[in-house]
């Protein structure tokens, strides 16, 4: 402690700015980690809370994927002796366009029996929560809302609320106001309860329910009850506790969680290099102190511990600040994530309260400290090995020894060979990720040597710009690779990340555009919801013929998309008249032939998978696919695999006849409309709106609307990527600031001498600027090179473990070109402060330095 106070504290105080800049890497890494995970956690907790609050006394819930199931199942369940009470449920998320922004969750239940499971009247023996239960049941426009929702929107008993229904906008009447607590706090209080049979009409569900909530007889264990129900209902139904229902939602948001991990790990990784760099410099600068300490009897262990404690403290402060910043940004992220999940998966969830997990915060602190410790390990070890005699001599210590260079070169060759070898072997995740890691390590090992070599290459160019300043700047880099290599490595990693993500983004947009031009070719789309991904409302079967009868319509195809469980993953079934669909759009096949797969699928003799589903589930052409349905398993061979980017979890195309037979669901949620040649899109769109204006709720989208929507969703998705890019570039730029600050401090005497022999302030200034530009150029060259490798691994990772989508490798040259001015500009900006400090310091002090 004494050493820490006498030595470390004094040094830190003297180099306050650098300490802060070094810490920023950790701050950002931890902040992004805490922010994204807290946001994810908050949305998950909100979902679980909603599920639990809505569940009430429910012990088990029966579902059969998104299509739901026929009403008859309810009687079957109610007749099981082990079941005490079983009630039907329909859930939908709608936007009633009231003062409270966003959607409300409509919980539709059978009020005659539901009070056995859910407590609507929360004051014992008090006034009934529904003004008149018989009127509530008799009138399909009855709604019960929470007290909070009523208050926020100025609603009272008998107030009117307008809601979209399958029969167009309808006015609903508030016939009950639930008192606060329990159920009413689900979905942030934005909850409305209505009669389940009325909901069937409102949402076009036919005679189907989404779910059955049930409680078991006294003395019957949940496991016993579940097994009995599973045995009676068959594998097409999922019988789960309410808590287990969250798993599907978790699965949907897991992609986001993975993204959060990647972003923060990259930020921390880059931060690690900045810390490494700072400590390596600190060790060099403090050689004299170390020498004195060693001469006074300090052991190697004590010196090493001193530096490690310093780094741990730095890591701790950085982590604490990171945690605080992370919690601050989490709220906004949670809101964004809630909207994002709603848009992409149609699963609405609001996270109005932030859920901070103390374990996550503790882990983040530990992660920050550990990162800092790892980063400082090598500098601390070199500090411990300092020879006291040499240390007390003046001189330059920024060069790398020949021995160090040799070791690094050998390591670089070994890791590069390993990376190539593992990439060629391919196969399991060990080889893949091992290969990726080896490639990165090889690049890091080669960085100091490559930085010096590139600096030599740059020397003529910079001399051309400014003969003296250019040479001085480059020489500073060449002579001090230890000082620069950490920053260059950080910049290289950041830029490699930018290039790989940029390439991935471009490949995704290109692939999406190709897919849209083939698969999304109808002129118009008819949807019962304002959002094409929302599946709360369904069209009746007869709508296709009604659409076909409209003047100007050449043909119309009804499509039903439903999410079902396949090997515990929520995949998407796309069902339509395959013969009709394939007549208009055939998606590019990656396995199987068009002329074979579509007729077979149309005849109900096979299914066509999306490429990403096949990749994620390791399914191959010709294999048998088995999907559980409420009416027994559906076993069909895979007759084709096509490029389809409709869903991140993958799609399976099944002919409508097969689907209806197994799921007993004849509804649609989108109608694809092709117009006759010469027909005007605007006129037909208007005709459609007029045709259904009085009887059915419809939204008509043009082809452009849908394409814009897909691009918007993709933009939203890549919005997360842009956060990654911003963090990566920011941390790297901070690295440049740090390095230059150190460089200036390190060369104070040298710069002082230059000024003393007549160098102008502007020349000193320009030397620092050019040094920054040189670092930027070297980092750019290495980063763009490593980016090419990283892009390969990103595309592979996307195909293997992320979304299963195989995207084409295209180096993002435009992005690389864009990065050139950005990084050079940032480097210049980063150099302004250090350059000014270099010219404004006292000349006498500078000459006395060291």
């Amino acid at each position: 402690m004494k050493l820490l106070h006498l030595i470390s504290w004094q040094y830190t105080r003297k180099h306050g700015l650098r300490t802060v800049l070094t810490m920023v890497g950790i701050v950002l890494g931890v902040a992004v980690f805490v922010g994204m995970h807290t946001a994810n956690q908050s949305v998950l907790v909100a979902f679980h809370k909603t599920v639990n609050r809505i569940a009430g006394a429910t012990e088990l819930q029966i579902t059969a994927g998104e299509p739901g199931f026929a009403e008859e199942i309810l009687e079957k369940v109610q007749s099981i002796p082990e079941v005490r009470v079983a009630v039907p449920v329909i859930e939908a998320s709608i936007n009633p366009k009231l003062k409270t922004p966003g959607n409300i969750l409509v919980l539709a239940v059978d009020m005659t029996g539901d009070s056995s499971l859910r407590d609507y009247d929360l004051d014992d023996g008090g006034e009934a929560v529904i003004d008149d239960p018989l009127i509530f049941l008799a009138q399909p426009d009855s709604l019960m809302v929470t007290r909070e929702f009523a208050k926020a929107n100025g609603l009272a008993i008998n107030s009117k609320v307008s809601m979209e229904t399958m029969q167009g906008p309808k006015t609903f009447t508030v016939r009950g106001i639930m008192k606060s607590g329990g159920l009413t706090s689900a979905f942030g209080g934005n909850l409305a309860v209505m009669d389940v049979y009325a909901a069937q009409k409102v949402f076009g569900r036919g005679r189907r329910f989404d779910r059955i909530d049930l409680a078991l007889q006294e003395g019957i264990g949940v496991d016993v009850g579940r097994k009995k129900l599973e045995q009676i209902l068959g594998p097409g139904f999922q019988v789960e506790t309410p808590a287990a229902r969250g798993k599907q939602f978790e699965s949907l948001s897991s992609v986001y969680g993975m993204m959060a991990n990647l972003t923060s790990l990259f930020a921390l990784f880059i931060g690690m290099f900045i810390i490494y760099n700072s400590f390596a410099i600190a060790v060099t600068q403090r050689r004299k102190e170390i020498g004195i300490l060693r001469a006074l009897g300090a052991t190697q262990g004590q010196i090493q511990t001193l530096f490690l404690i310093e780094s741990a403290i730095l890591g701790l402060f950085g982590s604490v600040a990171g945690v605080a910043l992370g919690v601050l940004i989490a709220r906004g992220m949670a809101r964004g994530l809630g909207d994002f999940l709603g848009e992409i998966y149609g699963v609405a969830q609001r996270a109005d309260e932030l859920s901070t997990d103390t374990r996550l915060l503790a882990f983040s602190l530990a992660l920050g400290v550990l990162t800092s410790l790892i980063a400082a390990w090598i500098p601390a070890r070199s500090a411990a090995r300092v020879d006291p005699v040499q240390a007390l001599q003046k001189g330059r210590y920024q060069q790398l020894t020949t021995g160090e260079n040799r070791v690094r070169a050998v390591a670089a060759v070994v890791f590069a060979a390993l990376a190539i070898g593992l990439a060629m072997v391919g196969g399991g995740p060990f080889f893949f990720y091992g290969g990726y890691l080896s490639a990165v390590v090889a690049a890091l090992m080669v960085t100091p040597w490559a930085a010096v070599w590139l600096s030599w290459m740059l020397r003529p160019l910079l001399r051309l710009i400014r003969p003296v300043e250019g040479a001085l700047a480059v020489d500073s880099l060449i002579q001090s690779p230890r000082r620069t290599s950490g920053t260059v490595a950080a910049l290289m990693l950041s830029l490699a990340l930018v290039i790989s993500l940029g390439g991935l983004t471009r490949a995704s947009y290109d692939s999406l555009n190709q897919w849209m031009s083939v698969g999304l070719n109808p002129d118009l789309f008819l949807s019962p919801s304002q959002s094409i991904s929302d599946r709360s409302y369904h069209f009746p079967a007869e709508i296709v013929d009604q659409v076909k009868a409209i003047d100007g319509v050449r043909t119309a195809q009804g499509v039903r998309t439903v999410r079902v469980n396949y090997r515990n993953e929520p995949i998407m079934i796309v069902t339509a008249d395959v013969a009709a669909i394939s007549g208009e759009a055939k998606l590019p096949a990656t396995a199987g032939l068009h002329e074979d797969m579509y007729p077979k699928a149309a005849a109900g003799e096979g299914v066509i998978l999306s490429d990403n589903l096949a990749n994620l589930q390791k399914l191959k052409l010709g294999e048998m696919m088995e999907l559980e349905s409420p009416n027994g398993p559906l076993r069909l061979p895979i007759v084709g695999i096509v490029l389809d980017y409709s869903d991140q979890k993958g799609t399976v195309l099944i002919d409508r006849k097969v689907y209806m037979e197994k799921w007993k669901d004849d509804t649609y949620n989108v109608i694809r409309i092709y117009l006759k040649p010469g027909a005007d899109v605007v006129t037909v769109r208007q005709a459609l709106l007029e045709r259904f204006s009085s009887g059915l709720k419809v939204f008509v989208f043009t082809n452009k609307d849908i394409r814009d929507y897909v691009v918007k969703i993709t933009d939203q998705w890549f919005g997360l990527t842009y956060i990654q890019l911003a963090v990566a570039v920011l941390v790297a730029v901070l690295g440049i600031v740090n390095t230059l600050t150190v460089s200036i401090t390190d060369r104070r005497r040298e710069l002082g001498v230059l000024q003393a022999v007549g160098a102008l302030r502007n020349q000193i200034r320009q030397t620092v600027w050019l040094e920054a530009i040189a670092i930027g150029l070297v980092g750019l060259a290495l980063g763009l090179g490593l980016g090419a490798i990283a892009l390969y691994y990103s595309l592979e990772f996307t195909a293997r473990d992320f979304a299963g989508m195989r995207l084409e490798y295209k180096y993002p040259w435009a992005m690389a070109a864009f990065l050139l001015p950005v990084i050079l500009g940032s480097a210049l900006l980063a150099a302004i402060g250090p350059a000014e400090s270099a010219v404004r310091g006292s000349l006498v002090e500078a000459l006395e330095y060291e």
Binding site: Q78, D110, T112, G125, E127, L134, I135, L137, A138, P140
Partner: protein
Amino acid sequence: MNRVLLVVSSAACLFGMDLRGADARQIVEESQKRQQSQSQRYEGVLEVTQATGKKSSKRWTYERNGAFGESKSLLRFVAPAEVKGVALLIVNHPDRASDQWMWTPELARDRRIALQDRSTRFFGTDFSFEDLEERDLNQNDYTLLGEEAMEGKPCWKIESKPKQTKSSQYAKVVTWIRQDIYVAVKMEMYAKNELVRRLEYRKIEKMQNIWTPLELEMADLKKKSKTILKTEKLEYNTTLKPDRFTLDALRRGE
């Protein structure tokens, strides 16, 4: 017999026969026999008074076809306008719980009232769906607790408990039966050991030779609310078409 029958005839036909000194079961059996009729029709007014004092009122018509134990009943609301046409079809069985369906004309569809829902309140009144059922007296055990005068009239005090094979929300029901005319005048329903509901029969008159209470008051002692059912235009053994008591007829709104 633990069942409290909402319909007037049911209340009357619970008990009968001059069986002073006989055992409780015999009293109940004879009571049923005396109150039997082949059909019944009346118009009823339901008045619900909530704990806060707020009142609501509804009118219905009630028809029953068939004798006790195997009867079919149809209850159709006629006022207020919001509930007009809402109907409940009850098909009673001698050996098991009745089947019940509700019809809501605005939705144009019927829904089955599940057996498990029978303990819930009947559309916001203080009666439960279970209270509307007719059930076989063999499904209960009866004990004569003694004699007690009610409003100056000597009564038997009989306790009925459901047999193990039968499910009921009530652990026991205590009934007071007038010894002179063999009609129940009061019932107290217990859930576990707690008194939860009290039913009082009033305005007992002889209608077509059957002693019939024309007013019933059911009090929910937990919610502190009460429901009064008044009957008008009561007729026994009237001609009713059997096909009126089917699910199809319910759907047609007949």
